[in-house]
Subunit: 328 residues, 2 copies
């Protein structure tokens, strides 16, 4: 597919020097010289489609490293594919570039895309470059999954376990450190959490465990809101404990920075790109084994029960749905 830019000279440079390497020489891309591209999947696979944009001053800041912007663009989309039980195949890019973006920025941005493409095994199908006052980067990602393996948000059953991948809050603490220097923690920890915010990695557990999962979504709008999508106003969740969603190290940092960070804030923040999913109890061993095999931390955090809302293990309401109208 062609890539357009008002300034044709820049377009040529961008395509030939920076973007062509991202096609991985796949036939359907026509080397970015055609009006469109084509996508070929093996028989019996459905094309899973997701799209997400990131915008300057909302999802990232101009001074963020271009590598971070590439990570975020890829991560938000791969995380959605994973929540659908799908592995990535290809993507298209819509770059709305402003005057601040130079070749050096684009070089660093595309080199990181190249690295992420190698890591997660997908290629660039084509795209569109335009000029804009505001830097906006959109991507359409294409994944593949067999129809029977496609996951939905709202197919859980009473009695299902509720699971969560990884730890929550690492990205939130990184954001707080970058925007509030008064948080007390070691330099090593500061570096670790800043990197969790700047270079998020999607949890691709959905695509390898889809046969055991009844419902899944990625945590992109905050833990409670995303769990609520699974409950879908039809069933309730009983959580064993909520603090073990957060790593021990982060809990220690919270207790020395009590006025600045709270667990509630962390659970309303979404940029960890972990998954929350439900599964029949009988699959506990298989799920735990898949987690070990793929080096993914898994925590069984509770169960789906009759009713509406989110409860703790003494059946006190943690959140009732009426106060969570703004999550859809």
């Amino acid at each position: 597919m062609k890539i357009k830019l008002s300034d044709q000279l820049s377009e040529k440079i961008i395509i030939n020097s920076l973007l062509k390497k991202l096609s991985f020489n796949k036939k359907g891309t026509f080397n970015f010289e055609n009006d469109a591209a084509y996508l070929s999947l093996a028989k019996n696979y459905k094309t899973i489609v997701t799209t997400d944009s990131i915008t300057e001053n909302i999802d990232f800041f101009y001074n963020d490293p271009p590598e971070s912007v590439a990570h975020k663009l890829v991560c938000v989309n791969l995380s959605d594919l994973s929540a659908m039980g799908s592995a990535p195949v290809a993507y298209t890019l819509n770059l709305s570039l402003n005057a601040k973006i130079n070749i050096n920025w684009l070089n660093r941005f595309t080199n990181r895309l190249f690295k992420l493409q190698k890591q997660y095994n997908f290629y660039l199908l084509g795209g569109d470059i335009s000029k804009s006052y505001e830097l906006t980067l959109s991507a359409n990602f294409f994944g593949k999954a067999k129809l029977k393996d496609i996951l939905s948000q709202n197919k859980c059953s009473i009695g299902n376990d509720i699971w969560i991948t990884g730890n929550l809050g690492n990205s939130y603490l990184g954001y707080k450190i970058l925007t509030n220097s008064k948080i007390k923690l070691s330099n090593k920890d500061a570096e670790y959490y800043k990197n969790s915010y700047l270079y998020p990695n999607p949890c691709m557990f959905g695509s390898c465990a889809s046969m055991f999962i009844s419902a899944a979504t990625d945590i992109s709008d905050g833990f409670y809101g995303d769990l609520n999508k699974i409950l879908n106003n039809k069933v309730a969740a009983k959580l064993n404990k909520k603090d073990f969603l957060i790593s021990k190290n982060l809990r220690n940092i919270i207790s020395t920075n009590k006025s600045k960070i709270s667990i509630e804030d962390i659970l309303s923040w979404g940029d960890d790109y972990q998954l929350v999913f439900t599964a029949n109890k009988k699959f506990r061993n298989q799920i735990n084994n898949l987690g070990k095999k793929n080096n993914i931390k898994l925590t069984n955090i509770g169960a789906i029960i009759k009713g509406k809302g989110i409860y703790d293990d003494s059946m006190n309401v943690i959140k009732n749905l009426s106060s969570y109208d703004h999550f859809s």
Copy 2:
């Protein structure tokens, strides 16, 4: 796939009141309640993918009717699918909305999308809504074509006819009328040409005639530049005449507005969304018949010859490639 907006209330309204009708109740959309969607094509079809964005102040102006913005977004993308020999199936929308956009604007915009979806037979798979300082609308369109019917820009042969669909310049004159009130023409003509600019319709001839076409592209960067993509620096074009690319009525208007519009300007302007394509001479009858059947005006404007550049019928250089570096 989910549709996100920072202001969740607006998101709900936008999805439930305005966008859901665009899903045409197709199963793979999950009613826009999942993290992604899936696309299903009949066996033996490839998924053709194209993407194009339109941005306020570049591709349209805030005061343009929302129906016009919908037309442009659909047209730029369908035109690319047609140039690949493909019919549309579905699309995703990335809406970066600014504060000026209200429900009324979105209602008119989505009603026109609905109408265009019915007309060209495609549905909305999902999308992403975000807030931005600048109104930017991106779409990824998915078409279908059998591998043997996929068209390329650069597979023409010496001796092939060069064809063009429709008339060029209608959109350009409309733009000139809207931005320069001093052009002399009747009110009826003014209305007609303004509508050609505001409500462009793609020429879908590529998808019905792909078996006869050797190379095609849509005219989106200007006639010479787009013809040059087909020539690909390897062959030349000899044009019979160039003024019959333009309707008789438009030629009359040009001759009474000589200082304000020129044929050269028209041939460098691209928003007519017509196709330029090449075909073996032996298919002339079949191509003309398909044009009549589909009510599409077709003109055989010349032939592919040995050499480089674009020539008139006396072999005078109209354009040589070195002066057209800025077309890629």
